[in-house]
Symmetry: C2
């Protein structure tokens, strides 16, 4: 969490003790996660514990708790919902790693690398259903409905991306629609739940939902850029997988569209050639053609729009962190 | 459905028009399924339509509706819940086919055979989340809680079975515990929901839940027997997969336990040998050793206990069908 709360632009803007409540919230979420995922089968516990080592940025629970605190009170329901969204996110990661055949995630061997695809698929299902069960324990139909709807949209986006693999004609609009589903939807859902369960006014709930969606779009474009130009050492995961899987992302869509006929044909040949050295071959072309800069600019635009949505909130430490998050989503190396 | 309602012992027991309300209920469930699974992405619709061709016995929705009608009134909530349980069941089938590398399901090519494992994994997730979203639309926290809890237990059972693959020391108790999770739990859940949403008395809800669980156990043992001695032509799916995947089922657990040291060692050698002709090699041994008969007897015991639980219901056409179902679960060829 400390990562998320760094404020390099204004190191003295908020003394560390102001962060204490948010740190305590996140610790509470970890407790809910650990308690919920305990299984009476020791074999299952071993796999769940392994996934616990991924310990990523906890972006989704943090967003849910930060929006809650920015709107008012943080309740037990928020801690439960934050655990729910993290479980859903982890389920999608575990299945993504099977789809991508990835060996490493956040510097740790993936479940599929360690236990095989079968266990990974079932573990993902186990986490999904745990998340739904946990959200149902709140007894508030809004939680189940919002989470059910968002998660479904996430899967639709992922499924669509999978079915569009190898389609080198993919348009920018279709790409944005897909990442809106597979990434932005769940992030928007976190912000919506945070605000809604703090009894925020409807316009604040809607404003923060839009903030989450725009942040999610910026975040995914930055992620796609990292897959192209990042370093495995820093990101802690296998890179270049989008190209290997013939998944088109914004820079490549741009380059294919902007290139003259001959260059475009050459690009398609590289994409469709066997082997997994597409990243090395395409990176200079993407750089020289300005496609990486274009994608970065689009991500910045979304981040700026996200920041503007925060105007609906009174000034607070949490609002400042949410503003910084939008900036950091674009300029990150991991 | 006509399959489920045949009553070979008493062909004249219930004239066909008595079945009309149940047939209408099931048609309504098909409408809910079709409407819910419509996607704005035509590529997704194509895969969903393909899965629609599986059209199995619709055992789970039928149980939910039959228990509902046996207790009292069938409402819109029952139709929605019946669609939910069928979606969950289909999601587990789609993922099972990936795990088993199965090529055929109900005489139709599996999704993994047609679109690959990636699409299958994501389609399963899509169906799971659709089911949860649909159950949340009822606005009744009981539906989400019961379905969340049951589905989680199903995944736990499946995950456990996967992690126990290759364990030739698996005990009978552990096997029963696993099939209680992976199969009996969801069938029990159907009966529970049917009764609960018909405002049945608590002891009837509990009795029918036990009926479902016992029926599920009988059903799974019969399924495991079919995997060993069934015919692919009749069952419409790949057989022998349990052995190929080193998943121990009741007949083999029994044979391993009952065999003298030397025979048991020979069995283990056959199990661990490469190739996929284990079924042919083991079937005569399972037959001669009485292991198939033993498993069939256990399935019959569960079916009889299931029938006894129906005493909590007044006599009706639906109760008769539920009684027959317990019998048919054991003596089936597909």
């Amino acid at each position: 969490m400390s990562q998320l709360m760094q404020n390099p632009a204004h190191p003295a803007a908020a003394p560390p003790d102001l962060y204490a409540p948010i740190v305590r919230d996140l610790e509470e979420v970890e407790r809910v996660l650990a308690q919920t995922l305990r299984s009476r089968y020791h074999q299952i516990t071993a796999v769940v514990d392994h996934v616990g080592q991924y310990r990523g940025k906890r972006l989704r629970p943090a967003l849910l708790l930060l929006t809650a605190r920015a709107c008012g009170l943080v309740t037990t329901a928020h801690h439960v919902l934050a655990a729910v969204v993290e479980m859903i996110h982890t389920a999608t990661l575990v299945h993504d790693d099977v789809l991508d055949g990835a060996a490493v995630r956040r510097h740790v061997a993936t479940v599929n690398a360690e236990w095989g695809n079968q266990t990974s698929i079932l573990l993902g299902d186990y986490l999904f259903t745990h998340a739904f069960h946990l959200s149902a324990t709140l007894g508030d139909p809004r939680a189940c409905r919002i989470i059910g709807e968002s998660t479904n949209r996430v899967c639709e986006g992922e499924l669509c991306q999978g079915l569009e693999r190898g389609n080198l004609e993919l348009a920018e609009d279709a790409y944005f629609d897909m990442i809106d589903g597979k990434t932005a939807e769940l992030i928007a859902c976190c912000c919506r739940l945070g605000a809604l369960f703090s009894d925020a006014e409807p316009e604040v709930v809607e404003g923060l939902t839009r903030y989450g969606r725009l942040l999610g779009l910026a975040f995914q474009i930055a992620d796609d850029l990292l897959d192209l130009e990042g370093e495995e050492r820093t990101t802690g995961k296998s890179l270049g997988t989008d190209l290997d899987q013939l998944k088109l992302t914004l820079p490549l869509i741009r380059l294919l569209k902007q290139s003259p006929q001959a260059a475009s044909t050459r690009l398609r040949q590289i994409m469709c050639s066997p082997g997994n050295h597409k990243r090395e071959a395409l990176l200079p072309l993407l750089r020289e053609g300005g496609a990486l800069d274009y994608a970065r600019r689009r991500a910045e635009e979304f981040a700026n729009l996200a920041q503007a949505e925060l105007e609906c909130l009174p000034r607070s430490v949490c609002r400042t962190i949410l503003e910084n998050l939008a900036e950091r989503a674009v300029h990150r190396t991991s």
